[in-house]
Amino acid sequence: MIGHLKNVLGATLVSAAAVLLATPAIAADGKLIVVTSYPPDTTTAFKAAFEKKYPGVKVEMLKKKTSAGIKYLQETSGNNTSDMFWASAPDAFEVLKGDDLLVKYKVKVTGIPEKVGSFPINDPEGYYKGFAASGYGIMWNTRYLKAKKLPVPKEWADLKKPVYFGHVGMSAPSRSGTTHLTVETVLQGEGWAKGWAEWKAIAGNFKTVTERSFGVPDGVNSGQFGIGVVIDFFGLSSKASGFPVDFVYPTVTTLVPANIAIVKNAPNQHNAEAFIEFLLSKEGQELLLNPKIRRLPVNPATYAKAPSDFPNPFKDSSIGSRVKFNLKLSKNRYNVVNSLFDVMITYRIDELRAATKAIQEAEAAMAGKSNAAAAKLIADARAAVNATPITEAEAGEEGYNKIFKKRRKKASVKVTGRQAEVEGKWDDMVKANYARAKELAEKAKSML
């Protein structure tokens, strides 16, 4: 039946194509097809420089956002036409590696250390290579802060302050691999319970959770919200484009490596290898210093050419080194963390905001007074907001994580519970907690 269908289909296509001229076939050699999530500012610069060095090779940059790029490579793997995958989040490369869609490659360039900050630069198994790093920080719109008379935030903890209620924006970890790393870093640095409490205190001030990671700089640039949690090049390239914005690295920042890998069965494997070598070479690394690209090179020697205010993670120990990042832990609970963030914050942002507002108002009313009963109510309200549906041990447990694994398990593996079922239960609990927190805080306020 299906075979028959395909014949019919082929016939339809042939007749259609007889009418319309097919695109002329391009010679197979001398090409390089790179699936990438990077913006044109980055891709065109590297494409031009690489083509200049290898005049015979024509580079095609195929822009897809990271998740779409993964899907694309997965779905086309049977008949692959892409040579490389070039994106930020190491988790994305882990997914591809897990699906056996990448090949190992040993880099010839020397002088690149093992780690940037506390983060390993390359995949220990050799499937993907880090070529740059980026730090997370805070960007803000200067006109916005001035008009609303808000102080400039400098530290993550500042974002929890009531003065920023409704002025902060961030992307969700399930939508952006780099955001995921930031969330995970705080969870590892502060510990599970305290880390989530930290995130909820910041999220209570959110104006919005954006669907794309670029939605954050976009919102700050246009003044939809004043402050954004962003990766450095978003903030700095916005500033370089002339927007009234500024960016700061808080004293504790996280580093996100940016990676590249060769796709399995790449049609132009040797060109792909040349591209990796070029990216890690002196010229390639120096391209990263361009203000519109703005990433931290992984070759320490390159920093000699950088402008004086350029952060150097190999020298400055405050960048990305405080937290000892545990990649294995992160990988194990990857989907659980994404899902928890969405259930507790993204999808219940209105409820969380309402509870946060009530608590902030009660605390403001409390200022300078002493009322043990009200203080207890406020503490209870905070506790209700901060409660997480599962403990760290559960989140890291293998059986529990299987519920969230992307591939369907073999019938022999017994898993109890379905993701939607589990999330539904979490959601019921979170919703009830936020409502209770609001009620408690309002009660406390009425007592003052």
């Binding site: 289909l9 994305a92 976009d218 640039n221 969230f404 398990k409």
Partner: protein, 557 residues
Amino acid sequence: MVGIAIAVILLAFLIFPVLKVIYVAFQDPDTGALTLVNFSDFFSASLFRESFYNSFYVASVSVVLATLFAVPLAYFTTRFNFSGSVLIQTLGIVPLIMPPFVGAVAMKLLFGTNGSVNLLLDEWFGINIPFMEGLNGVILVQSIHYFPFILINLSAALNNIDRAMEESAQNLGSRGMRLFRRIVFPLAMPGYLAGAALVFIKVFDDLGTPLLLDVNKMLAPQAYLRISSIGISDPMGYVISVILIAFSLFALWTSMLAMRGKDYSTLQKGGGGLAKRDLRPWEKVGCYAVVIFILLLVLSPHLGLLLLSFGTIWSYSVLPDAYTLAHYTQMLASSSQFITNTLLYAGLAALFDVVIGTAIAYIVWRTGLPGRKWLDYMATGALAVPGVVIGIGYLRTFNDVNLPFVDGPVASWWFVIVIALAIRRLPYALRACVAAIQQVSVMLEEAAENLGATTQRTVWRITVPLMTGGILAGFITSFATASVELSATIMLVARESDAPLAFGIYEFMQSASGRGAGAALGVIAVVIVTLATYFSHRIIERGKQRQAPGNVVREEA
């Protein structure tokens, strides 16, 4: 024969790829066995119930708002001597061409909490109106974006009404609102319902707008977020897709039910009766005021887009700081192939759509083929299939198919993008064609056959010419919307040189320096489609003049 061919095309390019994807909805995530447990999870989760309610609420209110925009424009321009009718009709279609990303950015800059309007309101009156907050924003943008569906179909229907009916009513003393409410509107019902059903289904299923406004507690965004997130491919996304498809078909069925047992065809076709009426001066002023207000509102995203494309920096201010042409030079330097690709893809797709749409309309309404209604349902079902699902389905189905003259697998051939666009936009053309054929009296065809014409000749010389207006309306809607579609294309583009315009805008909108250039490319898209629309209208108008009463009399004499 034609029916079977269409069924095969639909099966191959719609049903089969979609089934390949949504099959997951019925699988037990643990064992892979067939089950309905995923659906029970859906209905027991309060997040999904709220999403369902929100989607329903947004779709319903959007239809009401879209009707308020569309009815005055359609009625005034088709019934009265109103200078600028063609221009108004053309401008009224422009909102349909809302390029991805930039449209929403422009709307936020104008109507957002800190957009131009609210900054002014705050300065003058100290108030802030939440036009764009949460569901409000989705309703506003959607009704502006999709009201042309009602406008186009309603206008086509109004043009097709036998004006002798209105003339009789007027002779009997009916005028003004009563005439409209009791005679004109009911006669134009097929067109209105076709448009309203499209608006409802489209808003219910639409993904782009809620996502760009960061509203995710609706069904389509929930499905998309679940399908596209890395690592999460649990069945819930597909369950939601199935529910979207089912609900869309239900809405369509309801609109058909409303039409059942009513015959809206009229023997005499447009232009055959009464000439357009004149308005009294004060009425004219009122009508112009209404028309201008509506046009200003529905064109505001495009005004914003224009400002964005010429403005240097526009941030937390009423207007951009200064103006420049730099974005256009930046865009033109790299984007000419996007424009030609778009014209080719959208043009081909729209052509397929009207050919298949006319054929399906004819089969459903003029033949006794068993199961003919299913052709309609199948084609319309495409409306509810999220673009990502089509995209993934095509990759899954066609990636292992190789054709001798195509370089690489079929799935990475540009023609697949055309097919995806054609399938996704087929419902629009189909509704327009169905509305058109419903208004053609079968007696005209019977008369032709009595005079000895073969069925083929009758279709070719009588039915299709009488449907021209509707077919062109279908072509325009398909073309205009195909030229800015992104969700399926983004999965299917395999070479940058094959990418259409929407993809180019997407690329630009990934960086801070690309915002202006993306807007400039958006403006180009709007201009191209507007010109195409304008010329199609001119063709319709000329066709009508040829059928106008004066000429007929002269020919007869």
